[in-house]
Structure formats: C-alpha cells, structure tokens
Symmetry: C2
C-alpha cells in the first residue's frame, strides 16, 4: 500500500485554488529551528540524532494544528513513497534521502508540515495555493509559537535562531513562491527579471528548489537573507516583488497576444498536439508542454475547465505518481515510465476539445516566416 | 487566371497510383536532344535561340502523343505559374527561370513533357507514378523516334547525341525515381545506401533534383553515366537497384515495427499532432511531417484512405499551390504562407481519425528512455 492512499486525492489537489493562481502556483514559508546543546543533524552521531528525534516527534505531533495528521518516520517509507512526497512538495528532496532518526508530521489539510532531522532538527513549512505568503507566514508563526512553548530552541541574542547552515541564521525563515512565467520566457524577458530579482537580494530557482532546472517555465522566487530583517518585512518584500513579476508576466502575455497571437497559439497548439499523440515522452518534455497548455487556458484558447485537468496531468505524470497510479509493477524503468506517461496523456487528452483560436475572434499574421 | 486551372485537379493527382508506390513515388526518364549547327541555348544569341524555338515548338506540338496538349511560351507565364509547374515536377527549376525563347509542351495526361531551350534545345521527359521506368522509357523512346522523323538532331557517330553538358553526352538519358525512405532514415541506414548506390555509378539527390536537400525522407536516384551503356541497359540497371533499395526500406520498416514499434508510433503520432494543431508551419517541416504520416498509413497506424489525403496535402501545402488554391492575394509573404499552410493543415486534418496503435494489437516498450 502506498502513502498516496493517505494523501488528498489527486482530483482534490488539482482543484485547489488561491489568489493570482494563474501565475503564482503556490506560496511557502518555512522556518528552521534547532534544539540547544545537541549537534546539528549533519554532525550528530546516531545517539544524538535519535535523542533529538525522540524528543521532537511527540512534541510536534502534539501541536494543535498537527493533531490528527500524519506522522511518519522516514525509515518506514519506501523510496517510491518518499518520491511521492517530494512530487507533492510535502518533504524536501534532501529529507527524502533520510532514513532512521528522521521523520515528518503533516496536518490533515496538507498545508503544514514539520520535518524532523532534515538539515536542521526542525524544518517547519506552510504551503498554500496561489499568492498567500502572509497567510502562510501567519500559520507557521502560530505553529512556531506553540512549539516554543513546549521546547527550548537554539537562540542567540546576538545572531537570532541558530541553524546548521549560516545562510539560515537569524530568522531561519525561507519565504518562497512558485511562479509560472511562460509569457516572460516566450518574450525572452525572463533573464532580465531574474537579474533584477537577484539585485534585490532574492533568489530564483527551478521547480524542485536549489540547483534544479526551470522546467515547465516554473520559477521559485525566495529570500536569500535571513539576518537583519524581520520575518514580516521579508514576507512583505517578497509579496511586493512577486506582484511586480506577476504584472510583468501579465504584460508579456498581453503583448504577445496583441502582437504575435499566432506565435502564442502555435506554441499552445503544438504542445497539445504532441501531448495528445506521442507514444513515449519524458517527464521534462511533459512539464514543458503542460506549461504551454496552462498558458492556453489562461489566454482562452482552451476552455477554463481544462485547468484542473492540466493540474492533474502535471501531478500524475511525475515519475512516482505515474508508477503508483497506473502500474501494477513494483518498479518501472525510465523507459517504461515514458511509455506509460504517453499512454496516460493520450487517454486523458483524447476527450479534450482541441485548442481553438476561433474562441478569440479572427486572426492576422505576424513575425518573420520561412518556406 | 492561373495555369492550375489547365492542369489535372489536385484531387485527381493525389489518387494516381502505380506499382510499389508506397515507396517509389514516381519514375521519370528524360532525353536531351539538340539541333545541329545552332549553338546550345546557354551560348546562343537571341536570334539563334529564337530560331531554335520557332523551329521546334510547332514540330513538338505536332507529335502524336502531344497533340491536344498544352503548349506555353515561358514568357507568357507568371512566376507563380512557373513555380506551380515546378511543384508538379512538370518543368525543371532551371526551365522555370527562362523567359522569351523558351517554352514547353505537355500532353493531356501530363505524363509527357518537352521543354524547348532549357539547357539543351530539347529536354523530353516521361513521368509515371510508382516504379514504371521501362514504361516511361518506352513512351519517351517512341516520342523521340517520332521527333527524329521530323527534325535532324545533333549526333556524332563516335559520341552519340551531342549535349550542352558533357555529362549528358551519348544517350542523353537521365533515368530517375523518387523514393520515400523514412524507414532507412529512422534506422540510420540511409547513408550506407547512398554510398553503395554511388559506387554503382548512380546519384542520389533531394526532392527537386541536383543540389537540393532530402526533405520529407524523399530521395531521387538516377544514372550518372550516359556514355557507353545503351538506354535499355541503364533503365534495367536502375530498376534493379531501385528494387533492392525498396527491399532494404521494407526490411528497415519491418525491423523497426518488430523491435521498436513505440518509436515508430511516436514519430507518426507526433507528426500528426503537430500538423493538426500548429498555427504556423514552414513547408520544410510540413514535408518532413507528412512523410511520417505516409509511413503511418503504410504501417497501418492510419486508415488506408488517408494516403490520398496526405498526397493531396503534400501537393497543396507547397508555396505556389498554397497561394493559388487558398488565397485571393496576389502575392503572399513567406510568413503569410506559413500561417495559411497551418490553417489548411488544421482544417483538413480535423476530420481525420487520430493515428491509433490499437489497430495493430497490444504493445510493449523498447529502447532507452529518460525521465
């Protein structure tokens, strides 16, 4: 039995909505906390790791918002389960690599998750659909307050919260949002935006965080600095920057739609055509093409109800979801997954109306062509 | 009014069939002949060119098989008309560039065409669907015999027929066939075949003859030598070699279908998906993708009646046909054609059943994959 059966059904996850969710897929705030006196997990010997684990797991499970949720030691999870949790953005890739002495606690709504013995003794995160950084912050702040009423955490009056990595020192906060920026990518403006965001002391990363590629035109924007600014200041600054990026993305889309509608329709149409007719397809290509289908929904080329279908395909075509949902085999090879993925996509998209530019009125031509 | 109205309708051309026409699209034999005493067209002054033209046009029009056909001075044709004739393989690209003093005569069945003042005073060709080199040779040989009963042609007892270019000296014959070799291309064996064919003294070229790219997996195979072998020997040698290539192509397809059906279906499915959903597409990409749809018909992934549709699309998506058939504008830019081409393709393919691998029974997986 897979952990998938204990998580919210894919159909429910695909229908989650939030403010500005056409462009801001999700908002996340996480706090890093550690026990005083015990070494950080990366340096701890087994005894100390277990001590931290055994002290923290019951406390975390007892926190109000987490009661009745899921609590799992990592050692009890198969590799597939771990990968599923990563694909849901419930645990980090780093945490998925952990075994004995590490675990996580997830609330019933799947909006709060605490990882025990990740890089720090505690990594507590709050995840919400759309642009909801302030709400995410409020939820994790409340959890942190409850936590600190139960256990002492490592804190220096001079440096603030102590963390395994100095980049988290101080507030221990990382505020981030996942942005879908196909307009800026197609308009070749995304490089400029990344540069500008970098100058504001923020980081831009790919889909699975640090060191990952920006697949599917998805970009994670987050704070770099954790020292010298208060949490609400960081949250507010990031929210403002995200609203600005959102405006740039909307403008890029409007401009493309006004000046180069054919180019835009061409991208969306071909993406649909390939997804609905391939017989083997990698998860990377799938992400990139599904991104263009989202764009197709946003600009009205595909009916609005298609969004939930694309959300669902986005989730279920990832390797672990694909394996769990559509295969009886214990372990599929990459090649078998590519084939299965194409079968699922063809099947689901066969029922869909094709993208139709006539929804948007008559069309001219634009840009340079070739014969 | 365009010359298209005087040619066989596209729907008729698309339904022409011949032996082995899954792989051998057409067979062609042409003879080069010249008047004695007059300089070759490339060297002739206007007076001499006109003299040859005025002597030859009435004679050619009077030849039995050409009576009641079309006779056109090149100067009377618009650039668009000339391009249409090239797309139909009725006149050569070189001849299409000619004006005053050049012309052509075409029989009613469009199987015989004589160009006057191309590179030689006369270029006479016979074109048939499928593998019919012997029949094509017989038809042009008969026409040549009739011609030589009417006019003297330049002939040397030592060298044979004299021609403008020494590569045509002797028989003045070029025998060629247009082959569709997607199997050998996908199996990466086409290079070997081209090499082997070259060693036999034959040439392999692209869709529009000498110096053109092999678009759409189409290869023209022809003799290089015109001296030292009789015409029937050349025709027979080429027919044999083509039957061998045909066998290699069939084996390549069988092998792919046996070992990598998914890969094959993937190519065909994606080709259909893109053609049926793009909003701008070049003629090169169109050729390459239509080639894969032909393959889809051949292997049973698409219903057999699709072949004529693909033939038709192959013809009407070429620039001049596209312009004449689907636009009221005098002259479309390349960009406008790319857009119009995609409109035509989307429209025509919307009615088509999708490629369906279930026609061919259950499927496994094969080859290396990626995530």
């Amino acid at each position: 039995m897979s952990i998938l059966e204990h998580l919210a059904p894919v159909s429910e996850v695909s229908h989650r909505t939030g403010p500005h969710d056409k462009i801001v897929l999700s908002s996340r705030v996480r706090l890093a906390r550690n026990l005083p006196r015990l070494p950080f997990p990366g340096h701890a010997k087994r005894g100390d790791r277990m001590k931290a684990y055994e002290e923290l797991m019951p406390v975390v499970q007892g926190l109000g918002p987490l009661q009745g949720g899921m609590a799992e030691p990592m050692e009890r999870l198969s590799n597939l389960d771990k990968q599923l949790l990563v694909e849901r953005h419930i645990v980090s890739r780093e945490h998925a690599a952990k075994g004995t002495g590490s675990g996580f606690v997830l609330n019933r709504e799947e909006s709060l998750c605490v990882m025990v013995n990740e890089e720090d003794h505690l990594r507590m995160q709050s995840l919400r659909p759309g642009l909801q950084l302030a709400a995410a912050w409020a939820a994790i702040d409340a959890l942190d307050t409850e936590l600190q009423a139960e256990v002492d955490v490592a804190f220096s009056p001079r440096y603030g919260f102590l963390t395994a990595c100095p980049t988290n020192l101080g507030t221990g906060i990382r505020v981030s949002a996942m942005l879908h920026l196909p307009g800026l990518v197609l308009a070749e403006q995304v490089g400029q935006i990344i540069q500008a965001v970098g100058k504001l002391g923020l980081a831009v990363r790919g889909l699975y965080g640090e060191g990952t590629e920006a697949l599917g035109n998805l970009f994670q924007v987050s704070n770099q600095m954790t020292l010298g600014e208060s949490e609400p200041e960081i949250v507010e600054k990031l929210s403002k920057v995200i609203l600005q990026i959102l405006e740039h993305e909307e403008n890029a889309r409007k401009s493309l739609l006004g000046k180069k509608p054919r180019t835009l329709f061409n991208h969306v149409g071909r993406a649909y055509g390939i997804l609905a007719n391939s017989h083997t397809i990698s998860s990377k290509e799938t992400l990139n093409l599904l991104s263009l289908m989202w764009l197709g929904v946003d600009i009205g080329l595909l009916p609005p109800e298609t969004r939930a279908l694309v959300n669902e395909l986005f989730l279920v075509t990832q390797p672990a979801h694909l394996q769990c949902l559509f295969s009886n085999k214990e372990k599929l090879g990459a090649e078998e997954r590519d084939v299965l993925r194409s079968d699922v996509l063809r099947d689901r998209l066969a029922r869909l109306e094709r993208p139709d530019h006539r929804r948007l009125g008559p069309l001219g031509t634009e840009g340079p062509g070739s014969d």
